[in-house]
Amino acid sequence: MTKTGPAPSNTGLEAHYRQMRRIRSFEERVGELFVRGESAGSMLHLSIGEESAAVGVCSAMRDGDTFTTHHRGHGIFLARGADPNRMMAEIAGKATGYCHGKGGSMHIADMSLGHLGANAIVGGGIPAVVGAALAARRRGTGQLSVAFFGDGAMGQGILYESMNMAALWDLPAVFVCINNQWGMGTRIDQATRVTALHDRAAAFGLAAETVDGRDVREVQAAAARILDGARAGRPGFLAVECYRFFGHARKDKSPYRSPKEEAAGRSRDPVAFARDALIAAGMAEARLDEIDQAIATEMEASIDAAIAAEEPPLQAMFRDVFAPDAPEPEPLARRIDRVLARD
């Protein structure tokens, strides 16, 4: 039975910067994988611009805590310790990926890191944290469970059902809305009349806050408040305000929004903000460049490894529909042979 770990320590701005830079760099490589025609499909949702949400919240989590993410979850997963090589391989649909090439970008997971799964269904992963929190509370493990989702998921009824249950049962559950202002081509104010999202959570009895995502330290501080509360039995909600720098998925060029808006959004870059803050605090630019370079090299390697990796074998198709000791589904071709043998 997993127990929760100690309070996180590596939470200074430099550590945050490194993590955010790793995410940025990884996502850029994902884009490259797509351009090189090596990704499995085009359903790649980059979290560039949202690094502070991932890093700020994840740095307030502890070992043993569990979480689910939405379709734009690479950054969150990295911030919780994912191996970029296995991630990239999964995104390329390869056998060496986290899910052996079956899941892909939108269905990546690692139980050993508490990642209960990314989800391609908007809102689909939210109620699982209620269940995980219930389990943690019953077993007294001290774990909490965090659901990460986008502003678009505020349209899904299951979120409210889940928040209501978490509040009713005082569960160690936290709902984190990464409000990047857009759900595909729909701006938040085109999806709802009230854009102060945390009011909704408060109306169900959750501790609820909204935080500006520009400064990762503020995100971390807000997340720490909300998470600590949840661990003590007061579930919470945190909206992190940021901006989706690029299109919805890799092919989308966002024709539905203005360059001016994009420029304004991108000017609130949490990675650049942290970099500037580090420099202002006396860190040498050269040192930062070194960090960036080391990260770029690490991430670059993941892309080559992913491209070189093996495709999953065809027989894998029948594996893991059910647990390994159960018979696998009979392949159609074999069934046809059998039926027509008519012996």
């Binding site: 052996h100 079956k102 997971a109 799964g117 209620v130 529909v321 059910f322």
Partner: protein
């Protein structure tokens, strides 16, 4: 031997499983204080407390999702969906999440959740409380499906379901709760995934499950009086499906009928008939007959309700023609 009702056997199975395994818990609407809409969980909250009989708000989708998360976190949730008719609100959590998690995540983890629910006609409960929706489940890769017809199976299939590493949809029949049988729960039962030959017979094989099993048995009794020996098979689980038992009976008899309460078109009866037709082709002297629910919603009028699903009379009548 003791005499138990189907309802009591289910309750006993839950209680025994909860005794044995502290990770088993029940969650759903009215499962605790109320004791379940059909009384199955009555008394369990007194025995196991509100942490293990968790009453929920009316939030079917999130309840099933909660079960998924708890199962992934190592618990053994029994999620109760009050009526299978409400499955429509939960299908995403059931079919896109529970059913696919093991597969999508490359075998990292399973979702050992049992979704207990009940369906079928018999209480004038109308179009939204009387359906037989097992075909949706049977069609979904990744879900197991058990449908007990007898008191012993109410107990044993539920115990077995609670030992499966994957999600099991467990559909009871509302018209069977009061069924009372003398059972010896210590007697051997077929393994999980094995059908039961409930009545031997060499002239005709009738394949059924859940409440229609009883109609099939009643029909077989009457047919017997007419000199027609009908074998009656109780599938017990639709996934896994024990086709070998079906094959044996059908090939021996050369004539087959499948009986299901769900609507005819693209239902469980279609799968069974298609499979028998293809696999036992050379043995069939007549087409496999599908006796199933009419392709209509269920009316609240008791007369229309009863006529919407197979009756023993219809089965007898169809069997006679099939033998002619």
């Amino acid at each position: 031997m003791e005499t138990l009702t189907y309802r009591e056997a289910l309750r006993r199975a839950l209680a025994d499983a909860m005794e044995e395994d502290p990770d088993v818990f029940v969650i759903g609407e009215e499962v605790g204080r109320y004791g379940g809409a059909y009384g199955v969980t009555k008394g369990l909250i007194e025995q196991f407390g509100p942490d293990r009989l968790i009453d929920t708000p009316i939030s079917e989708a999130a309840i099933v999702g909660t079960g998924v998360g708890a199962a992934m976190a190592g618990m053994r949730p029994v999620v109760e969906l009050m009526y299978v008719d409400f499955i429509g609100m939960t299908m995403d959590q059931l079919a896109n999440q529970a059913a696919k998690i093991r597969y999508m995540f490359g075998g990292q983890i399973g979702v050992p959740m049992v979704l207990r629910t009940q369906g079928g006609t018999g209480r004038s409960a109308g179009a939204q409380h009387s359906q037989s929706l097992e075909a949706y489940v049977m069609h979904t890769p990744g879900l197991r499906l058990a449908m007990p017809a007898t008191v012993a199976d109410a107990y044993h299939l539920l115990r077995q379901a609670l030992r499966q590493p994957d999600p099991v949809v467990f559909i009871e029949h509302k018209a069977l709760y009061a069924l009372s049988e003398a059972v010896d729960l210590a007697a051997p039962v077929p393994d999980w995934g094995r059908a039961a030959l409930r009545r031997p017979g060499g002239d005709l094989a009738i394949v059924s499950y859940s409440r229609q099993l009883h109609h099939a048995l009643a029909a077989a009794e009457r047919l017997d009086a007419e000199g027609i020996a009908a074998a009656v098979i109780d599938l017990r689980t639709l996934n896994p499906l024990d086709f070998e038992t079906v094959r044996g009976a059908v090939e021996a008899a050369g004539r087959a009928m499948v009986v299901s309460e769900g609507p005819l078109t693209a239902g469980v009866a279609a799968e069974l008939a298609a499979r028998i037709s293809e696999e036992c082709f050379d043995f069939l002297e007549n087409p496999v007959l599908r006796v199933a629910g009419e392709d209509v919603p269920i009316s609240v009028s008791p007369g229309l309700e009863a006529a919407s699903v197979p009756t023993p009379e219809l089965i007898v009548d169809a069997a006679r023609r099939l033998m002619a």
